[in-house]
Each structure stands twice: as C-alpha cells, then as structure tokens.
C-alpha cells in the first residue's frame, strides 16, 4: 500500500492525458491504485496469517553479515578494482561469516580471483574494473 501511495505521490507531476490519448502517468496511476487495493486485501487477510513473532529470524544475523560485506565490496569495486575487492570480499565472507581457517581462506580467495580475472579479462575479453595498480 505504501509503495502504491509513493508511486501516486511521485507520479503526480506526470501528465495523465485523456482516455483517447493516455499520458505518461496513466498506466502508473492505474497500477498504483491496483497495488493499494491488493495491499489492502493482504492487510485484511493478514489476520489469518501466523503472527510476526512466530517467523524464524535465526538466519538474519548471517544474512546481515553477507549484505554488509557485499555492500562494502560494491562500494570499493570501481575504486580499487576487481582483484583487490573480490579477493577481500571472498576472504571476509569465509573468515567473518563462515569462521573458516584464515590461511585456507586466503589461498582459496587468491586462486579463485586470479582464475576469474584471467577468464573474464583474457579469455572472454570482458574488461573488469581495474584499480590504481592496474588490476
């Protein structure tokens, strides 16, 4: 419902046009109204659903660690390049999220990153972002 209302608000400056010549705001408004109606039906039917507290959130910490680590990786990706960012991303996920042995994790990350860099950059000719060191 909130998404529908947001679309209605954001699209208020778009021309609606006439039925015989619908404008850019016509279909988004139509879909937003349907979204609000359907959202309302989900809210009404929500009484029959299990309570929020009964949902299993035991995996949320693990998921949060992955999202945070990946977000840092995305921020660095075009700044320091593929090799350093992805090497650190793999290492962080293995050591921080999965509590794997740091030596094994480092070797794994290095080998994988070099292989993938070779695959994309040399074999598939699909250039990957490079950092200040040129890779």
């Amino acid at each position: 419902m909130l998404i529908g209302l947001a679309v209605l608000a954001l699209g208020s400056d778009l021309p609606m046009g006439r039925l015989s010549m619908p404008g850019a705001g016509f279909v988004p408004t139509l879909v937003a109204v349907f979204t609000i109606l359907l959202g309302g039906l989900v809210v009404i039917g929500g009484r029959a659903s299990p309570p929020f507290s009964s949902l299993d959130w035991s995996d949320s910490r693990h998921a949060g660690t992955i999202v945070l680590t990946t977000a840092i990786g995305v921020t660095l990706y075009t700044v320091v390049g593929f090799v350093i960012t992805m090497g650190l991303l793999l290492l962080a996920l293995l050591v921080v999220a999965e509590r794997r042995n740091i030596v094994r994790a480092t070797v794994f990350s290095l080998v994988i990153v070099i292989l993938v860099f070779g695959l994309f950059d040399k074999l598939l000719k699909a250039p990957l972002p490079s950092g200040p060191l040129g890779f």
Binding site: V7, L19, T35, L41, H62, I66, L89, L93, L94
Partner: protein, 508 residues
C-alpha cells in the same frame, strides 16, 4: 508439415556447427552443475552468465542460455536422489522416492530412471514444440494491441491462479513488478518517470539486476550454510541400470509425466515445479501400490522428473511463438534475445528463422548431450556435491556482482541487485513469491504500450477489448479464473495448490 521438416533440417545444419555445438555443451554442463548445487537455481545461473553471451551471436546465446535451463532440470535430480536436498525447486518431489531408492542401494537405478525419463520427456516436448510453435505464431500475427493487452492479462491471472501462494499476493507482486518496469523514459511521450534524476535509471530498471538480486542473492541470504551439510550417497557405475521390474514401473509414469508436464509448461506459472508436484500426485493416485510411494517407488521418480523436463520445454512455446514469458526464466531469455536485437514473438520465425530453428534443433542435440553427461559421468558430478556450501556461496556472490556489473558497466545496477537481494530475503520470510515481480517487470513495457495503443485506436472506448473476439475470449478466460479462485477462497477449500505450497516449504 514438409516446410517444418525442411526448416528443422536447416536448423540442424546450424545447430551442428562446431561453435554452436560447443555452446550447447557448455550450457548443458553449466545447467547440470547449476541444477545440482543447492542455493543456485537456473534463473540465477542464466542471469549471471548473460553478460558472457554478449560476445556471441543471438543463436549461440540462446542455445547456451536455454541449455542452462533444461540442463538444470536434469541436474536437480542428482542432488535430490543422492543427498535428499533439491538442487533445484522442481526436484522437490524427487527427493521423496529418489532418496528412498538410494537408501535401499538403488541410487544408480534412480539416477538412470530420472535421466532417461528426462530425456524422453525433453525430446517429446521438443517434437511438440516443433509442430505447434509455427502455426501458433501465424495465428498470433493477427494479434493487435487489444489482443496483446488481454493476452498479457491472462498470463498474469494464470500465474496468480497457479501460484502456490495466494492469488492476491501474487497479483500484488506482479503489480510491484509492473511499477518497477515503468521507471525510466516513457516510450510514447519521452517523459522521464521515477528516475530521481539518475541517468542510470533513464533506461529503466534492468531485468538482470532484479532477477539476480531476487533469485541469486536472495536465495543465498535465505539459505544458511549450516543447513546444507548432508551425506552424499555415492552411486556405483555398475548399479546404474534399473531392473526389468523398475523399467516396467517407470514406463507409463514417464509417458504421463511427459504429456502432463508439456501442457502445464505452456501455462504461465512456475510450471516445472507445479508439473512435478501434480505428476507425483497423479502417479500415486493411479498406482496399484500407492503404499510404496515414499518408500522408494520408481514411479515417484520417473513421473515428476519427466514432467519437469517436459514443462521446461513447453514453456518455450508461448515464449517463442507469442513473445509471452510464462515465468521469470523465459522472461530473462526474452531479455537476452532483445539484447541481441532479436524480438521473441510471432515475427521470430519469419524474420530470424536461423535463430528459431537453430535453437529448436540444438535442443534435440542438447538432450542427447545431457543424457551422456548425467549417466556415465554422474560419479564425477557427485564429487561436486562435496564442495562445502560455505565455500560455494561467496563464489556465487562474486559472480552475481561481476555478472550484473558487466551488463551495462553500471555500479547502480549492482546496488539495485543488492537491494533486490534484501527484498527477496524479506519476501521469502513473509511468504511472497518473487517470481511474479520479475514477470511484471518484463511485461511492463509491452503491457503499457498495448493498453495505451488500444485506447488510442478506440478513441478512449474500453469496449474495444470486448468487441474483438480473441481479446474478448481471453478476458472471459481471466474472469473464469478469477471466479474459480474466489470460489476456492470463499469455501476455504484446500486444493492441490495448498499441498504444493506445503511441499515447497519443506525445501531446506
């Protein structure tokens, strides 16, 4: 018919070129691996590898990407049988009797029945596709904007009706997808919509970041690695051949699964999952020994595995002939063709005959390749299952980031993927199916354009949808489906969709 055979022969001359054979093999191999590995499905596999196809021509690209799709249906059964973990959602039902057979020392036989059933069903599906798609495309050439609007509505309503979650929730997800699809420049007037002055959003939100986020990253976030540690039963090569009794038990379920799967495959929805569930229920119902189901019945492997393969082929009929995606995977494949300047739909067969027939012929070859990959090499593939998931998913995340970035070299796309990953995690928690969202996103431009063109054609009169027979017929079908769903909701009857939801929720 003669014309179809000539065209098919032309297709084989394309599919059998060494370069195309290589990409078919690569697709089948990656598909088998993607199907086997829990936590990565065909959709994320296809999405991640989409940028790799940019250097290929349209035929090679679609041959490889489709190979991943139907290859994953083969691979999913291996994990189900050897580990009792469905490598791919469509293999949920195979876990039950496939793993029970493996526990009895019949792992090889179960794998063989699954592979042969998949091969027969896949080949049957391609033969019907070869016969049905060209006349259907000819019929679709008569479609104007009102017919397309009605057809897309039928697709959405069918998807909602067939969904294992509620109709309202599925339609809600589709509406959210439609709204996401309206971000960017309006094709008819040139207005910028919901782009927040970000140039990267001017072209709209791409299907790849959304699909990879929802299905690749979202699946990883919802799959804690600790849940995926399991014992792998190693099949012995000499035990691969089923006994005569097992073949007899599997023969009819393979035939029934092939027909049932193909029909369901044509209908929008998660056809390959639904078909395997319905096939299992059907086999249990018609069996003389229903008590054997759950304890290692060969029919419980043969039926669902054949059905999910036939369904994956059936899904190509509306995709190729009508340009209508019946699910997120065919939606991504349509997107892949569009990137290569080829539009799926009625004009495909006439305007890009080499792409269409080369692709159809490659599926015959691909099915043979998959049989060879999945039988003698199954022991080798079983070793892949020993790679700990905790080492696997960081790799998948890396490929998600690289794959999404490489499509447009846009970091905004990667952020969209990350946001969609979190959204996908949340949707799964609250029991929403993310597939209709992707479908809505893909059909949004076509839906909006055909709806507005219809209104322009009729000078703003909505009766245009009821005065044209095909559009009126399709809208009547929508009304019937909505009525059936309403009756089911009011009487609170628990039908096959409720049981499907339970079965898929049991996935780890």
């Amino acid at each position: 018919m003669e014309g179809t055979l000539d065209a098919l022969l032309h297709g084989f001359s394309i599919a059998l070129k060494p370069g195309n054979l290589w990409y078919a093999f690569l697709g089948c191999l990656v598909g088998t691996l993607v199907g086997m590995l829990p936590g990565i499905g065909p959709l994320s596999g296809i999405s991640i590898l989409l940028p790799v196809t940019f250097g290929l021509n349209a035929t090679q690209a679609v041959i490889m990407l489709a190979g991943i799709y139907y290859g994953s249906q083969y691979g999913g059964s291996t994990t189900s049988i050897l580990m009792r973990i469905p490598g791919e959602a469509a293999s949920v039902m195979t876990c039950i009797d496939g793993h029970a057979m493996a526990r009895k020392g019949r792992a090889g036989a179960a794998l063989c029945i699954a592979a042969v059933g998949s091969f027969i069903a896949g080949t049957f599906g391609i033969i019907v596709l070869t016969i049905v798609a060209p006349p259907l495309a000819t019929l679709a050439l008569r479609f104007g904007p009102p017919e397309y609007t009605a057809l897309l509505l039928v697709g959405l309503i069918f998807l909602a009706y067939m969904s294992s979650t509620s109709l309202v929730r599925t339609l809600l997800m589709a509406c959210v997808g439609l709204m996401l699809g309206m971000v960017g420049i309006d094709n008819l007037t040139g207005h910028f919509r919901f782009s927040f002055d970000l140039p990267a959003l001017g072209d709209g939100i791409g299907i790849v970041p959304v699909a990879v986020g929802l299905f690749g990253l979202g699946e990883i976030l919802s799959t804690p690695s600790a849940r995926l540690q399991g014992e792998v039963i190693r099949p012995r090569l000499r035990e691969l051949w089923p006994t005569r009794a097992e073949w007899r038990e599997a023969a009819l379920p393979i035939a029934r699964g092939s027909v049932l799967g193909f029909i369901i495959g044509i209908i929008p929805g998660s056809a390959h999952i639904i078909s395997s569930f319905l096939s299992y229920a059907l086999e249990k119902k018609v069996s003389k020994h229903p008590e054997q189901f759950g304890k290692g019945a060969a029919a419980g492997v043969a039926g669902p595995e054949s059905a999910n393969n036939a369904a994956s082929t059936g899904a190509f009929v509306p995709m190729l002939a009508l340009g209508l995606p019946t699910g997120p995977i065919t939606a991504v494949l349509i997107g892949a063709l569009m990137i290569h300047g080829v539009s799926a739909g009625p004009q495909l067969i006439d305007e890009h005959a080499s792409v269409f027939w080369g692709f159809v012929a490659s599926m015959y070859v691909g099915n043979l390749m998959l049989l060879a990959l999945n039988l003698p090499l199954v022991g080798l593939f079983a070793n892949v299952l020993r790679i700990p998931y905790s080492y696997l998913y960081p790799l998948i995340i890396m490929f998600c980031v690289v794959g999404v970035y490489e499509v447009n070299h846009s970091i905004v796309d990667v952020w969209i993927m990350l946001v969609m990953g979190v959204v996908g995690y949340g949707l799964r928690k609250f029991g929403f199916d993310p597939a209709p969202l992707v479908l809505g996103l893909v059909i949004a431009p076509l839906f909006e354009q055909s709806l507005r063109q219809s209104l322009i054609m009729s000078n703003g009169n909505y009766m245009i949808f009821l005065s044209r027979p095909i559009a009126a017929g399709l809208l009547a079908l929508c009304a019937v489906l909505l009525l059936l769903a309403a009756i089911s909701a009011i009487s609170a009857r628990r039908d096959w969709r409720g049981r499907l939801a339970e079965a898929t929720e049991e996935r780890p």
